[in-house]
Symmetry: none
Subunit: 242 residues, 2 copies
């Protein structure tokens, strides 16, 4: 960016707009826990009075909060604070030193990364990336009908979603973890055949994730991905016992 311009002129501290003031105030109250997840914010009318500004200002501030993923306005109902985690994590009282536990740990890390990736993908995906995701989903379903689970196709679907975040870091890390995910799978295909119910469940989970991402529904994408990976965890735990 060397364009031979003058040394940067020091700009006078651009006066805050009313929108920014209201926005900062509301955001502070949300992140400080004054408004908890699920809470309803005061109505636009009340905020208008409270801050002594027009409804225009309040609405733009709320629009910004919504862009930040902090609130979810619902027509006729109100503006609600987003809940980051629908479900608490399982107890996990004891650390088993099995080699399956390694897989469980890995799934836990994947969940952290991919849940967020799904949310970002829902926000930023491009049309081309959408098509890639759809294609990957189709590949997973096609392969599943024939012979159990196609782990490679499954992995490709997850990667397609990670790519749709448009943040290459997610792709890199996930690809790295993928090397540890794929190889060892003598377990699920304990005969090449898994129950039809299980396949149907997996299919439903995948479709729910993809639909949420394509709908741009960040919250649903998070929830769907979390459910999917958490489900995998519990399945592995079950294997761990017997």
């Amino acid at each position: 960016m060397q364009n031979g311009a003058e040394p940067e002129m020091q700009m006078p501290p651009k006066r805050k707009t009313l929108v920014v003031e209201v926005l900062d105030s509301l955001r502070a109250q949300i992140t400080s826990g004054q408004y908890k997840p699920g809470d309803r914010l005061p109505s636009e009318a009340r905020l208008t009075e409270e801050y002594g500004v027009s409804r225009t200002v309040v609405r733009e501030a709320v629009a910004a909060l919504r862009a930040d993923g902090l609130v979810d306005p619902q027509r006729g109902a109100g503006v609600f604070v987003i809940e980051p985690a629908p479900a608490a994590v399982a107890p996990f009282s004891d650390v088993d030193t099995d080699r399956l536990s390694s897989m469980i740990e890995l799934l836990e890390l994947r969940a952290a990364i991919e849940v967020e990736a799904a949310a970002l993908a829902a926000q930023r995906r491009s049309p081309a990336q959408e098509e890639k995701i759809i294609g990957a989903l189709r590949a997973v379903n096609d392969g599943a009908e024939d012979s159990g689970i196609n782990h490679e196709a499954d992995f490709n679907l997850h990667m397609a979603i990670a790519e749709a975040t448009n943040n290459p870091r997610f792709v890199e890390v996930l690809r790295m973890l993928g090397a540890q995910m794929i190889p060892r799978h003598g377990l699920t295909s304990n005969g090449g055949a898994v129950s039809a119910d299980y396949l149907a469940l997996l299919k439903q989970e995948h479709e729910r994730i993809v639909n949420a991402v394509l709908d741009g529904d960040e919250t649903a994408a998070r929830a769907a991905m979390r459910q999917h990976l958490k489900g995998s965890q519990t399945r592995y735990r079950r294997l761990l016992r017997g």
Copy 2:
């Protein structure tokens, strides 16, 4: 696909609002490189015509873009594009892919991992791990009083929390990312001194995280860590502008 009678209620695909449509369209055009950094967006009046919506809708969309850190509206002048898409276009076509934007991407990934790590740590920490976290926090605060920010101590605090998940995967990945986090810091310490307000804010954020973890408050831990890392993101974005 008639799956109407599911145990969980499946929400109908919540109709998109006009604001969301315009927002998505504009964001796509920005992240796809159709509008480059520094470019001026069409005026609100023109966008109003172009999309056939009211100025209210356009303004709320722009407010959302602004919250995303994508544009910077200037009264009297226009709305200017701030940041290129996080690598939506050609792969590394130019070397001017700033280290700063790279840092923002990294922070985004860290947020995904560390937010979950904080939650897990709140649930599973051992007394010894608690002490380690407390010690790390003290080290951060002590170092801060003297000379700006001690990034190494900061990193150690984050690692202590990751260790308290009792999932070694989190530690591994974070340590790997840490190698890219630490080295470059000519920017924040642009004189060795940062504002006292900034240090106080950082201190408060850290303490909020640690308190939540030690309290075993999973939700608060998530929120505090998210706020901390998101705050870092916005700080870097601000640096990116000047």
